[in-house]
Symmetry: C2
Subunit: 393 residues, 2 copies
Amino acid sequence: MAKINLHYGDIKESYLFSEIAKRVNEYKENHPDADIIRMGIGDVTQPLVESVVDGLVSASKEMGKKETFHGYGPEQGYSFLKEKIVQYYQSEFGVELDPAEVFISDGAKSDIANVTDLFSNENVVCVPDPVYPVYLDTNLMLGRKVVYLQGNESNGFLPLPTPETEGDIFYLCSPNNPTGATYSREQLRVCVNFALERDAVILFDAAYERFVSEDLPRSIFEIEGAKKCAIEFCSLSKTAGFTGTRCGYTIVPLELVRQGMSLNKMWLRRQTTKFNGVSYIVQRGAERVFCEKGLSEISAVLAVYQENARIIANTLRELGIWFSGGVNSPYIWLKCPNGMTSWEFFDFLLDKARVVGTPGSGFGECGEGYFRLTAFSTKDNTVEAMRRIKTIL
Amino acid sequence: MAKINLHYGDIKESYLFSEIAKRVNEYKENHPDADIIRMGIGDVTQPLVESVVDGLVSASKEMGKKETFHGYGPEQGYSFLKEKIVQYYQSEFGVELDPAEVFISDGAKSDIANVTDLFSNENVVCVPDPVYPVYLDTNLMLGRKVVYLQGNESNGFLPLPTPETEGDIFYLCSPNNPTGATYSREQLRVCVNFALERDAVILFDAAYERFVSEDLPRSIFEIEGAKKCAIEFCSLSKTAGFTGTRCGYTIVPLELVRQGMSLNKMWLRRQTTKFNGVSYIVQRGAERVFCEKGLSEISAVLAVYQENARIIANTLRELGIWFSGGVNSPYIWLKCPNGMTSWEFFDFLLDKARVVGTPGSGFGECGEGYFRLTAFSTKDNTVEAMRRIKTIL
């Protein structure tokens, strides 16, 4: 008899964003004319920049000609793109990488989820709370023990491990999703030293690195020793609007060894066995992100979102509502007013202002009583949403 | 301390095709002028058809305009493509599917590998020998017990389970990679009934279904009862030259339930948690495959490969060499002449004819002494390779 993975029973059946979609659809059915502004799911609204579209179109045409057709590519990604990422790390973060440390992915989510393959189920996994639900769910699906680093207003939702912290594998997300809080160099140094001392591994999610505008680390590898204890995941989803185009990259350092095995070699083996690489067309589009013209075009798009974040932050400041994020991040994490729970505030905001946000409790128990708004809407919608919020609070 | 998945030590470090690439590169270094013909890896050589390129180009352009930009799509794939696949199953196989049973993937390899997530490590896994190495490797990586259904000349490399066969999860590949052998309806009925009797699950790899030219089943769901015991994986890689474009689909029937859990719901949960869908652009390209024009264009491309297969088969027949496949499959599986082992014949063929094939032993112990040639080369190269082979055998 085929025995299923019963750990699937340990996770909630409905994924956070499906529940939001359901409530919004119900609201729309009852209020068909409601002019709803969506600041819930972290999806971008600006189109791909010109350079990227040019890259995609010309690669699509190449695929139609025998002389320039591309069949199977290297599972770990084409050199033309890996080299660009090596240069990006060098020029943006001062981090030197070997191209063999760079793996092209179809997005950070897949790799963050699939990296669990490399580790034994005996590990204790430590995740910040609140945080992106994928870290928790993918480990619960494997029956792994999960402990939490608790975020709260006093630590600015930037929890750090202490000597009492249990854990062999640590997830960190900075700038954080959902809180927008960003670790300082000194704080990341604490995490890296902690991991080095106990031979732990840090899984570092840098999906929002390009939103960092202050002097804060954007890659874990800016911290000395991190190559001996960390894997970094990055994505073009928010950097360049690739949420529907699908491309990211994962850095697995050659120096990262546990129990005598190179995690870089293990990941290469995982990817060559269980993956067939990202579409050639998409990789050619992604390559253009890292060209001079592409980088300047994506900065212009990011400026739109950054201004939205400022508009939201200013409104909350005016209203005297506690919040984090909004400066180095497209996310604003706020305390629900009048002691409302996260879902109470969700319903209140939807009903009174026709604005959709994300209940903080969906990101972990410590998120209860908090709420996430995203800066990914258009400027007009952001301004209008803030106007409505001011009238009801 | 982070504990790694030590089962990675149980698999050979080098993937079959990497070893072939290594030997070919060494040969090229020593014979820089050698005019090598590659009939080893199953990669296509014909470009994408016009309809598909049109779909890719126009979707790429859509992504550059705010009004037609697409962000996150449904993880399980867009309806426009799922509906086309439902129609394809209806018109080609007479199989009725619910769109909720269709999941768009970035290729059959990923889904065949990732479906292991749904099952407990306590299962005994049964794989045919010889077969596509991914079935074996992905299960060894999880430390699962693997048993074999032995293929040989007397069963035409179409092994069937018997009452003594151990196993909870069965992999089947028909038309088979590497042997090209294709199960009959009666044979698949034996497999389905066997699986139903013991509540096993069949993982059916139909990647080569479109090469079937005789009256043989192309989908496991043509067999009564299969929806209660099988998952089917399909790919556009060989059907439409998508090896570098990356798109496939997986059918998980709503009726497939084990231990009270719906495998369809489990897979949906797996995909929504660990995957973010296939690129919108690629899905728009894939959609065109299933339009009338696209289907006729891909048939013309397949005819090229089918003729190559006939040319190879005729040559082997002339030489009196035993082989299977070549009729309903792009693969020809031959017995190495003069009692050579698979790798001996590989070296012999490379050295004497500058033709690269795939050693049968790379597909399992029962493949020792056999060899795979593919029909994916150009017609000119296929003719020339056969001419050379005739002069040395």
